[in-house]
Symmetry: C2
Amino acid sequence: MTKFPLIASLVALMAACPLSAQEPEKKEYPSPNAIVDAAPASDWKAIAASDLLVMDLAPDAKGEARRVVIQLMPPPFSQGWIGNIRKLAAAKFWDGTSINRVQDNYVVQWGDAGYDNPESGETEQKALPEGLEVVPESEYSAQIIIRDRDKFLAKIDRSFRKRDQYASAKFFLQGWPLASEYVQHTPIQICDDQGECKPAPADYYKEAAWPIHCYGAVGVGRNLSPNTGSGAELYTVIGHAPRHLDRNIAVVGRIVEGIEHLSSLPRGKGQLGFYADASKRVPIQSIRLGNDLTEAERPKFEYLETDSKAFAQYADARANRRDPFFIKPAGGTDICNIPVPVRRVNAD
Amino acid sequence: MTKFPLIASLVALMAACPLSAQEPEKKEYPSPNAIVDAAPASDWKAIAASDLLVMDLAPDAKGEARRVVIQLMPPPFSQGWIGNIRKLAAAKFWDGTSINRVQDNYVVQWGDAGYDNPESGETEQKALPEGLEVVPESEYSAQIIIRDRDKFLAKIDRSFRKRDQYASAKFFLQGWPLASEYVQHTPIQICDDQGECKPAPADYYKEAAWPIHCYGAVGVGRNLSPNTGSGAELYTVIGHAPRHLDRNIAVVGRIVEGIEHLSSLPRGKGQLGFYADASKRVPIQSIRLGNDLTEAERPKFEYLETDSKAFAQYADARANRRDPFFIKPAGGTDICNIPVPVRRVNAD
């Protein structure tokens, strides 16, 4: 059967397993989840209601509610599209639109699927609200100033930062997985919130950084370049991270609750997973910004600060699983295999 | 909002895009799918019926059939478990068992969920067939002999092979994505199928290689080490590649058709995504080896040879998307983002 010179017999490699060789007394290693559970309250940071987008789908076949909650990205990433999304939510643009694409191992997409006007014979789109920005492709990435010893970089094994298959570097910033490439060392000006600037020390440098397409990332559907999409058509990733989309489409956020209401939908049978049969579309009742809901209605979430010691321990444990089930730590991981812990604060 | 010195304004980076700078005449690049479609018939290799496992689930709520087809791995990988799986299929062990776990962004698992005997008060498991092998952990990887200029390595950009975040190397062999680590250079004996051995040239070396957990990979559920599972409980990956499981659980195959019948199932609400409510389990009508079906019933598939020129072009295009939708090729990819093309030969 094989064309290559293969040794048929399988040879034991576990004899060199560091767990048994280096640790005469068996140490109990906590699981990544246990590390997260043990993180002090001070390592958790609240997500502002204004950064949440709450999507209510029509109830399912059994009448059960389906709510999906999205967290929008912080500046300086994708803010043009996020501004549009805030306007679209305020205008209730998505109410009455639908989930209209479900492609296995790829994306679920929603927005206006168009209405086939029987009189004109044309597909008509819902009117967009006034004042949406046309965002240039340059905003697929943003320049940031960092230095290698910044705390959000240093606490995770340095080799982690420099090993990525889609970019020169990867890291976490303010709870978000990012990739980047080097732009420039000194001279760099660092400016504060008041616009006061001063020269940066020599170990600071500029990178171009961009948000990446991990499972649950939310992005902006678009037509061919130079179109970048308005934000009216959104999608989320429901499969292996399609990171070839990084810097080709805007990532604006991630799903923090309820992705199962999207990922478990029947796959579309049309091209690219669009529902060929319009009756399969799932109606969207409403999409609202968290701060447009009443205080009682608002879902509250917090994320584990990615510059915290607990997060560094968690990331290390994801890359080196040593909890009881595991026998061989990988010694590394890709950034999408370290989902940033997000938890609900209030009860449902 | 930000704690870090960030430049608020976003700067255009696309000016340096090689597409516009280096190619005054716009060249049309084919998409990965177009490359696959154009591959010559000789690059496609039939999958033996004896390497297919055909799982028929109970029809869905609308009475539609649900068939899932799995391809088993070739030697020397995971053959102990695969031998067990062949015996389990021949004994019709899985008939009447169920899909009993669906964990979002992780796995769907099936097999015997146990029967709660009301008289004894105990959960009883279905009896396993005679003659199943107890497979040692050493079989999570297999030793192979390769050399860098082997055709299955050389046609893909060399940097691809050496960039992996979970292993020293990654490559494709006989249609399968694998990871590996170096074991030994000379002296190595190369043996043929008749057991005749001779010393290998100096550029041959041994690696320990193992199959990896990409989307759709099928693995063997197990209890805590040193248990390795019999093969009676199987799972498939329905999310981002959980490659921390590599070398910790046996990978025995992959789903080549019908994964949507598993990936779109409702997520289980019990621990680890098990269905807390037993009525949610999806009955398995039967699992059969392809060669146990009649010739007319047998599904026929073929895969694109991973040592073909077409596959190398396809892999390169996956890593460097330049088809019309894309504006920024990534210049790299992880191995699970290059799914090996598999196609059906006969009509349904």
